[in-house]
Subunit: 426 residues, 2 copies
Amino acid sequence: MADLIQEWSEKIHKQLARKQAAATELLQGWVREQTVQGNERGLQEQLACYLQKLGLEVDLWYMDGKELSQHPYFVSPRLDFSESPNLAAVWKGTGGGRSLILNGHVDVVPIGDRLQWKQDPFGGEIVDGKLYGRGSTDMKGGNLASLLAIEVLRDLGVKLKGDVIFQSVVEEESGGAGTLSAILRGYRADAALIPEPTNMQIFPKQQGSMWFRLRIKGRSAHGGTRYEGVSAIEKSTQVLAALARLEKRRNERLSDPLYAELPIPIPINVGVIEGGKWPSSVPDLVKMEGRMGVAPDETMEQAKQEMKQALAGLAEQDSWFAEHPVEVEWFGAQWVPGSVPSDHPLMRLLGETFQSVTGKAPVIAASPWGTDGGLLTALADTPAIVIGPGVTEVAHYPNEYIRLADIFQCAAIFALTILRWCEPAE
Amino acid sequence: MADLIQEWSEKIHKQLARKQAAATELLQGWVREQTVQGNERGLQEQLACYLQKLGLEVDLWYMDGKELSQHPYFVSPRLDFSESPNLAAVWKGTGGGRSLILNGHVDVVPIGDRLQWKQDPFGGEIVDGKLYGRGSTDMKGGNLASLLAIEVLRDLGVKLKGDVIFQSVVEEESGGAGTLSAILRGYRADAALIPEPTNMQIFPKQQGSMWFRLRIKGRSAHGGTRYEGVSAIEKSTQVLAALARLEKRRNERLSDPLYAELPIPIPINVGVIEGGKWPSSVPDLVKMEGRMGVAPDETMEQAKQEMKQALAGLAEQDSWFAEHPVEVEWFGAQWVPGSVPSDHPLMRLLGETFQSVTGKAPVIAASPWGTDGGLLTALADTPAIVIGPGVTEVAHYPNEYIRLADIFQCAAIFALTILRWCEPAE
């Protein structure tokens, strides 16, 4: 099999080099499409055309939110997906080979504070070989690597035994409804690659995570006699402290060596706070929304129970919480944790290919965040491995960027991996 | 002068007793009008008709927000007052007497958490002699007392030397633009009574207050690697602690004996918090809005400076704040502190009248909250004293109520006070 690398490596690299300028412009266009939640249609339609011209069987579909919401794995803050189609494109094999899904999401998170961006967040500006913009790293750069891998193989006239399925899904950033829909539509394969930004580390294990909403009660009063009320904002600081203690406990007992390098392997992040309605009233309600990491070796339910207990424990330090317990709701997004054995055939094959292209041994680690890989592994029986260009450190940040060279290196690794996994037909 | 009390007390009480049922229904109607900010027009028009029928010279006017906003004392979160007219009604005297303004606001604060209300917040339900609803105590009950005082005197055929001016203003809850407009329209008098809920204590001194907005910065990151960002929500807990220390310092040095009974004479209340946009992102910005009490013996500017210094001090305990200072903005509402000397003739006259009606010595105290009295005193040279039915403890709270008996007692005190201050014409 390593002969395939010797045979094809140079051709693939040469073909990729020819495509660099056009591919860079393509990615700039993708970033400029501003595919925040609810605004994915434009880019998905553009991609559908592109893949059709490449000769793949294209499937662009609109999810029925109402129907999909009946599924136990459905999580999304919305049911209307009329501006958010999913896309799959199949490169049909001649038969007898292993199939592979290349799964990536097209949705991007909001830009946050505009003032912290030095560039236009949706400009796609290129400085020193880095392309800037929301979604560049998470994960349009990775999607481009997948697309280029398919494109160069087709340019070079390759025919494969196994199917290659390119997926551009929506809704990954809020729980995976896009990938869920693709699975229910019948898309599955012998394995999957997800080019989320791992800085080209290989992640066989993926942290799960889920979103929570807390309601912290107070008692209203006039601000001028605030001592006669109970401030839900003041009470919230105790809740934040309890969450910090819970996070510490959960991480201290985590022994998986793949997580050894991470300061907080399974973090609890409070992302949104909102409370009170009037500056001169004592606030009687604060809502917090956040994300709780779930270890690969625990269930979602176990994690939920632990959160519940930690919040119930507040009653011991403050009787207010005994009478007004903090309410927890699990809503919106959820990523099932995923795990592929280290000795899975694609793990070995991918590692060898990586080494051959980069000249370095691959770093095997565990993802500090959830991906759609959990769903693919758990629900579609499609073992999913996460590896992609771009660094986690800039995902969801202002000034997000991706190194263009990393995308092309990933494309080369993917092209060779496809060739070896799906096998040439002749 | 005390002869006037002997002569009129019984007549006034009898006439008030006849009016109780109708007056109670009137107040229920007022509460049901839901006069939250921007929804005052209906009740103001209804009041205008009522006062016209009583024979007063009625003036219902719409403020020009743009023009008014040029005034240094203007503070309001809005410029559009098209649904929020002001109302003044003059009972013209025959001349040669002292004039009196009865000033009250028609706007009410929002209801807060609906679930904490046992009654319909705008139902005006009566249980055990208490009328429930937002605005019952703050301050429609007080306004009814003013109106009844005028009405019974007119019923009894009284003619006065001095003018009595009934004012129903908007916008008191967010800074006094209504009273400011009334002053600029020319309304002023030898003194003013403001029936805010003091539980019939007499407040010659009024705490000032102003609204602030703080911006606390963080640095965004993916929630799964939250340790790579800086949470603006976590930083906010340090800001809250700094505000608590500032409040403690400011109150410890307060020596005014009128404030001796209050746990926190000039509180700093954080009423609103809002930060972050996405549960699984580290929040990069938190906004807080609140109210800072201002002592009668300090200027607004001094209080602002002290807040600024306290927030600047955060940089010493955390270098994050040195690089990302908390921003302060003074916005929306502002109540100028006010002070009437204890030996002012209306103070003496009011105290005697109170004693005669209730059989008890009046309690002289200082208001724990700002009122429009500061503007009247400072800008219109109209010394304003605050005294009214209802207890502060229920203002701005769920289940706000007012004891109906307290309103009628206040009406009697006001009727006699008007009679003695403005003097019968014949």
